[in-house]
């Protein structure tokens, strides 16, 4: 058993590059999904029915779709429409577009629960449009929804493991290569699981730091 872990340690460069790719994918996808989700949540809150309805349909369909099917749609399905990605592009686009829907819904739910007064005060001070959203609406929204957004980022990390299917060299893919090269399945995948756990513990401590910041602001 110890010998198996020594084999994995011998392949540490491969495992670490997998870990780095998972982190890069998750951070990029998390940031882009949060940004696009914030924009999409403003569309969901539109008063014109037709615009909001389109966004609503996208969000609801994405929330009923398994991520793997969505990734397949982008990687195998889109080329028949003439849109072609390599595996990095497809993986990243799948993660971003899919999780944008979830982020938008999270932010919308938090937005509906926000008190009206600061927005009315903002109006009275002449804020409107994007400036209003950025300076008045968004900051309390982000603080209030931080725990749920954190959960969603953990979900992004976990969904990125599905991308091993389209041969993206992330952490699970690295563990698979180590196991197929040396036949040490338990040690290789357990190492990957523990590394994922580490990533999630970092995210959770980040969320609780934001929580403390929100407490201090109150």
């Amino acid at each position: 058993m110890i010998h198996d872990f020594a084999v994995v340690w011998g392949e540490r460069d491969l495992m670490l590059s997998g870990l780095a790719n998972t982190v890069v994918l998750s951070v990029l996808a998390g940031l882009c999904a949060l940004l696009l989700g914030a924009l999409l949540s403003t569309v969901l809150m539109q008063k014109q029915r037709a615009v909001a309805l389109g966004a609503r349909v996208f969000v609801d369909v994405a929330r009923c779709t398994p991520f793997l099917l969505f990734a397949y749609l982008i990687y195998y399905g889109l080329p028949s429409l003439g849109v072609r990605f390599d595996n990095w592009g497809a993986g990243l686009v799948a993660l971003i577009v899919y999780h944008t829907a979830y982020m938008a819904e999270i932010l919308r739910a938090a937005w509906v629960a926000q008190p009206r007064e600061p927005i009315e005060a903002g109006l009275a001070f002449g804020y409107s449009g994007l400036r209003m959203f950025r300076r008045i609406v968004l900051p309390p929204l982000v603080l209030a929804s931080a725990p749920v957004v954190g959960n969603q980022v953990i979900q992004i990390v976990k969904d990125s493991a599905f991308l091993t299917i389209i041969a993206l060299p992330e952490l699970t893919h690295a563990a698979s290569s180590v196991q197929s090269r040396h036949y040490v399945p338990f040690a290789a995948f357990l190492t990957a699981v523990l590394l994922y756990w580490g990533i999630c513990l970092v995210i959770e401590s980040g969320v609780s730091a934001v929580g403390r910041m929100a407490e201090a602001r109150r």
């Binding site: 793997l68 338990f186 999630c200």
Partner: protein, 215 residues
């Protein structure tokens, strides 16, 4: 895409539903058991459950299913793709169910337990007659929500070769060189399943609200 292909995807849907049902049936009581271990502050075991839940919450199901599929036969336990898949689904959903049950147990009013004690109910009877019916009602919406989350991770079965909805669709796409139609059929089936679960969840929540208003 022929009608036989559509039927093949529906066959995959049957597999998806059966294996999810197996995972749910096993995961519900295991989750309840683990929640009780934490609620009762059983020494060592409670700590173990806490670590288990934290670890499983962070583990991608793909990695878990690959771990089980390749490592268990290595340890002398023969598993096929289906048993490895169901085991992974169960381990995963049990961890999330544990948190839902535990939240209901933490909110359970202490006075009721004291009242049951004062009329001489033993621990087992107290749990069966007083605690369980009430926490089951409180947890139900959360548990149904977890079921729809479980449906959304079942394509992980396709990774180890079980022909579920996703794998059936991919296979047909590869045979006909037209991947989009089977993907859309698969998408429609997932939409129907998850939508049905969400509707049940909303119906349960509404009924509970009405009951609370009537009481």
């Amino acid at each position: 895409m022929s009608s036989a292909d559509v039927l093949a995807i529906f066959g995959g849907a049957l597999t998806t539903l059966l294996l999810s049902a197996a995972g749910i049936a096993a995961g519900l009581p295991i989750g309840l058991g683990m929640a009780l271990v934490r609620w009762g502050r059983v020494p060592v075991a409670a700590r173990g459950v806490a670590i288990y839940v934290s670890l499983l919450r962070a583990t991608p199901l793909v990695t878990l299913v690959l771990l089980l599929f390749f490592a268990l036969p290595n340890a002398g336990i023969p598993v096929g793709p289906i048993s490895a898949g169901v085991l992974a689904l169960t381990l995963n959903t049990a961890a999330f169910n544990c948190e839902i049950w535990r939240a209901a147990l933490m909110d359970f009013p202490k006075e009721q337990i004291e009242a049951a004690q004062s009329v001489g109910m033993r621990r087992g009877l107290r749990f069966r007659r007083i605690v369980l019916p009430q926490i089951a009602r409180v947890s139900l919406p959360g548990l149904i929500n977890e079921m729809s989350l479980l449906i959304k991770v079942t394509p992980v079965l396709a990774v180890v070769g079980v022909v579920d909805i996703t794998r059936a669709a991919v296979r047909i796409g590869a045979e006909t060189y037209e991947p989009l139609p089977p993907f859309f059929v698969a998408l429609a089936i997932y939409l129907a399943i998850v939508f049905a679960l969400v509707s049940v969840q909303r119906w349960v929540e509404r009924r509970q609200l009405q009951r609370a208003a009537a009481a």
